[in-house]
Symmetry: C2
Subunit: 376 residues, 2 copies
């Protein structure tokens, strides 16, 4: 009997949430191409679509947005805690730690009940941005900024991060980057979420665990590393040498290549367009210029191998334009992925089957205990 190492290619669910065609560069949420959603919809509407399987009616949508607004504020005990813990605590640990506690503020405890699905979604969509933004302010030694219900979802988040109300066009672009992070079939974090929920643990436990998985450097975190990589390069003229050296040393180029996409990542294409627009509005930043030249140069060497920039490559540049510190890139990825995780949890428990894989034992048998005095 062999071990199914990493379960590569083993189907663990039937799912109708999202679909990827990696050859053609197609990503659909509930059958709708992401390009259409980015063009016409917004992150909250897409969240509803992913979790409940249909676009909300006007009435449903208005209630959903208003319920999220009612859930933006953090309990004072949580804010005090953020002030009390060491500033060295990684933001992803802060998120993983606070999320299970948010369950205490949700009266719908029963994981099989649709009420829990709805209330955990609005509670998490409401409070996770506030946790991230408050933590940033506390790290800066400043008072956290309270959420402002009069702003829209993305505007409010950027306002809490910076203290300034962003221009509408920019906050809308940010909102659409959240759409692009919202769901991406089964990966390590989504798989973690469904393994946890298969025990009938609630959605808070599942999402917290998914955040834990996303925090690993083989999963989330690539966007942050793109930022550091581009910042290693001091001058545009050094880019080609940098890339060639990396390739010669067979090192991975951060933000390039994807397990599934063997063509241009459709999400990267969209964010690259946002960057073009942003550079028209704000001027070309140093990082933007580097990124554009980097992509052009890297593709000379990598296109034949079907290695293209992925979503993380341009996300890093986009967030840096918005002056978001790099250690928040992965938490923002997590914030965007909440609807995807919850959609899979909801779908999985409908026909729940507890995860119970097994092991192949390769140790000894009937070994005897040796008393402490007689050991080495």
């Amino acid at each position: 009997m062999n071990v199914y190492a990493g379960l590569t290619g083993i189907p663990v669910v039937k799912s109708s949430i999202s679909y990827i065609d990696g050859q053609k560069g197609i990503l659909e949420y509930r059958g709708i191409p992401i390009e259409e959603l980015v063009e016409n919809s917004n992150f909250l509407e897409v969240s509803y679509l992913l979790v409940f399987g249909k676009l909300p009616t006007k009435k449903e949508y208005e209630k959903f947005v208003s319920d999220i607004k009612e859930n933006l504020e953090l309990n004072q005990g949580i804010i005090k805690f953020l002030k009390d813990i060491p500033k060295t605590t990684y933001p992803m640990k802060v998120l993983q730690g606070i999320i299970p506690i948010l369950s205490a503020f949700d009266e719908n405890k029963e994981v099989l009940d649709e009420k829990h699905h709805y209330s955990s979604l609005v509670n998490l969509l409401g409070k996770v941005p506030t946790i991230i933004a408050n933590w940033k302010k506390i790290l800066e030694g400043k008072e956290p900024i309270n959420p402002d219900k009069t702003l829209d979802y993305a505007q409010n988040f950027l306002y809490m991060l910076t203290g300034e109300i962003p221009e509408k066009e920019i906050s809308q672009m940010f909102d659409k980057t959240l759409i692009l992070h919202a769901e991406h079939t089964i990966n390590a974090s989504t798989f973690t979420a469904i393994v946890v929920v298969s025990t009938l643990a609630d959605f808070y436990s599942a999402v917290s665990s998914a955040v834990g998985a996303l925090s690993g450097k083989l999963h989330g975190g690539a966007n942050e590393k793109v930022f550091y990589m581009l910042n290693q390069i001091k001058d545009l003229n050094q880019i080609e040498e940098f890339i060639v050296n990396k390739l010669n040393r067979k090192e991975r180029i951060m933000g390039f290549g994807h397990r599934i996409y063997k063509t241009y990542d459709p999400r990267a294409k969209i964010i690259k367009n946002f960057l073009t627009r942003l550079s028209q509005l704000k001027g070309e930043s140093e990082l933007y210029k580097k990124a554009i030249k980097f992509e052009e140069t890297a593709l000379k060497y990598l296109k034949d191998k079907k290695i293209y920039p992925n979503i993380d490559f341009f996300t890093a540049v986009f967030y840096s334009y918005l002056k978001i510190p790099p250690q928040l890139y992965t938490p923002i990825f997590a914030m965007g992925r909440i609807p995807g995780w919850l959609a899979h949890c909801k779908e999985y428990i409908k026909e729940n089957k507890l995860f119970r894989p097994t092991q192949i034992y390769d140790g000894g048998h009937n070994i005897h205990y040796i008393p402490l005095e007689k050991r080495g």
Copy 2:
């Protein structure tokens, strides 16, 4: 292509940590039968054995115990937080939430480095009992009791729970129940831990996520439910009727039956012996009398079906003898399982392979977005 629902029977690891023979009722840790470990060892020594694959030398053991004692105390910010959050927060959520934050107090951040394995183990073995005991005191509206380093591991925990230093014989029995909870091959929580660590997230993220999985009612939590079930029965004479009714309604009898053991659970046998001794020392409690009669009666109906009491059945009675409130039974299970989870994390990342299963898509394609005004 079929879905491997719940991955039942699919081997995901080669492992030398523990072995179960469910037909013969054998459980070995690193090849040593648990009966020998319970007879001769203690929980901390067994923790070392499980994680590091060998019994410690005298010097290693003394350092290990002393390092754990140095890690018993909680940061004041965490204690304040426990006082600030709603008393309705489930103890398992408290545990899942605090554990990621403990990473901030561990300077060994690199998950592939053995230093992280050691320091996360002593940090978690040190602080998790304190979290559980402090939370109990706070729920009672009392001040948390600080750990006492002059006591041994189990004594200190029971002291923090009750304010009284327990008799040595009783705290030793409690310590041995922790040995029996320490490891049990791959199940949903252990699987969660290795999925999370496979992303190279650290051991705190992995253990927190495992606690999340254990909190589900299909996994941990059976011990607590045994307590409630036995308390539903008002009189010894009602036991047979209670059982027969349950069987006729095809309801599950809590604390009976096990996925793997088709004979007497070897762990249950040991805890039953502890209970016999405890009843000699302390007198036969009502719950003890009920449990003994319940077992005898249930076995009349279930033995032919190879359904026997499992570890949870007698654990519930044992903990109730020690006046531990039932909502702490699953957290204590988690506290005992820490070494098993970490042993699997350490073993898995040695030849790490990121978990990346897949899905079978059964939704639509190329569906169009409908503007809000045109929806139902």
